[in-house]
Symmetry: C2
Subunit: 319 residues, 2 copies
């Protein structure tokens, strides 16, 4: 019986051509995140793209779900997917976009561009004092997946001393001067001038950065979060900033999202916020990479080959 | 007769020790930029630091003026210095600070951090669309002195394709994919996604960036100025931004400085302004480097050795 492939990503003609060549013999249905229906989802053997998690209802027919995101948090909750469904993410597609955005935020913070920008509307020419050099900074990268690794590579290229923290032991990496495991985080935090987190959202990472962890960071350090908002206790972050322990912070992810207009986070001038735009498809190349991953996986699945980016339901990470 | 050395830089004990060791046998007087008197200046054989240009009055006694700045514009005007005075600048001390600040501004612009920052006070979670990758960008560096060269090195380390423009022919440089001369600027401008200027302020560079040059830049390009404000026709820059030809611009220097609160430059949201803070002593290491240059030159001058950073009065550049 022919397989039905439901694509909810914003595919243009050239993307459809690529996907249909990979899925020869399949029936293709195209929808969008917003217009897709429960019926379309229930009929799909394969879904390409982040169909709304609450509409999947553990569909018994769904064999393969290829997400267009690196994050999997919405899909690994009990009841969303049938245990037989193979879940694939788009790890690798986002490394360039998110790592560069994280680097831009890092440099903006240590050069105080966010403070200078706030003086624009009043036309105030004021001086916010000394800055930090990235070439002299110790940069701690928490989470060394594709994105964290690429960020470390960029920071190292600018002369930073880089320390990486990963869940599992890694071989020596050319872009990390030192490597540690997650459980050693507390030993290392105080050495970093910049702490950059790429942790995903799951049960183990919830409020990983709490009052105690912020207190362990170096006086005057900068903290950045480009992973998931749930990894940060936002109340604790605000206190670490307001109390002057941290010199600044940059976050592209919040909890919840969108961040409500009345959230006190917006009022903290030492906090640079971007509205979860580091990834998505803001760098056009990202979407091209996602379509390539999806096409490659669809072809491999149909031919019984090996799949890329299979996600372990229990951790949300790649297997 | 003993030489009198007047130091107007903010020297701390360890700096004084270094300078006095270099100037053994000299009489040292310490003042500040603000408190220094005409009498102190008139009595000095050597001045270390940017004594107010209008107080020097072509002092016949002044043999050596070691500036703490890279820019020399205030001192090369007729009547400021006696033609016999040797003028030295602090080229080399600022490369790290200014190049990193320029890179921070570049990344902030291409990732639209300035636009996101403006949404802070209203707590608006809005999306400004696609961004540019530095790794895919063609970056044109105008002015390849120490600062421009260091910026090109950093941009190249992040994957950019770098093109350098210099006044005089240069040998192949590892951080420049292509090299051109100033007079070839118009041929090259349209190829750059990012144009970064480090031109000094002098008669030849005044309004180097005018309406015609901005029009030659690529549609959607970004322009940055970290040299001197006088190199840019600010009216022309505003029009290039308001008309949508340029996607954004970043300037650390303006004309005049401070930029008056009523200047329309402040109101252009696509323009990121910092108040001439890339250099100065915002990176503490910069001042250490300046003291080293001053000490080295003072010693060499006393011993009849060769001096570093001698400035040609007629161009304002190093000889």
């Amino acid at each position: 019986m022919e397989n039905t492939v439901l694509c909810v990503m914003p595919a243009e003609a050239r993307h459809k051509e690529k996907l249909e060549a990979a899925g020869a013999g399949c029936r293709f249905i195209y929808a969008s995140y917003k217009t897709v229906t429960r019926e379309q989802i229930a009929q799909a053997d394969v879904i390409l793209g982040n169909a709304p998690a609450d509409m999947i209802c553990a569909s018994p027919r769904l064999k393969l779900l290829q997400l267009n995101s690196a994050g999997t948090d919405d899909y690994i909750r009990p009841g969303v997917l049938n245990p037989e469904t193979i879940l694939l993410n788009a790890t690798g597609a986002y490394s360039k976009a998110v790592a560069e955005h994280a680097l831009a935020m890092t440099l903006a913070l240590i050069k105080k561009l966010h403070l200078y920008r706030d003086d624009r509307k009043a036309g105030t020419w004021s001086d916010y004092g000394t800055v930090t050099s990235i070439a002299d900074a110790v940069v701690l990268v928490v989470g060394l997946g594709d994105i964290g690794a690429h960020y470390a590579r960029l920071a190292k290229a600018l002369g930073a001393y880089t320390i990486g923290i990963s869940r599992r032991p890694k071989e020596a990496l050319p872009y990390a001067d030192e490597l540690y495991l997650t459980e050693q985080t507390d030993e290392i935090l105080s050495r970093a001038d910049v702490v950059v987190s790429f942790l995903p959202g799951n049960g183990q990472t919830r409020h990983f950065y709490d009052t105690a962890r912020f207190a362990r960071m170096k006086e005057g350090a900068y903290f950045l979060n480009l992973g998931r908002g749930s990894a940060v206790d936002q109340e604790a972050l605000l206190q670490a900033l307001a109390g002057g322990h941290l010199a600044g912070a940059g976050i592209d992810v919040t909890d919840p999202e969108p961040l409500p207009a009345e959230s006190p986070l917006w009022q903290e001038e030492k906090l640079l916020i971007t509205p979860h735009v580091a990834g998505s498809f803001h760098l056009p190349e990202t979407f091209e990479r996602i379509v390539d991953i999806a096409a490659e996986n669809l072809r491999a699945w149909l031919e019984g080959g090996s799949l890329r980016n299979v996600v372990d339901f229990t951790t949300g990470y790649k297997r």
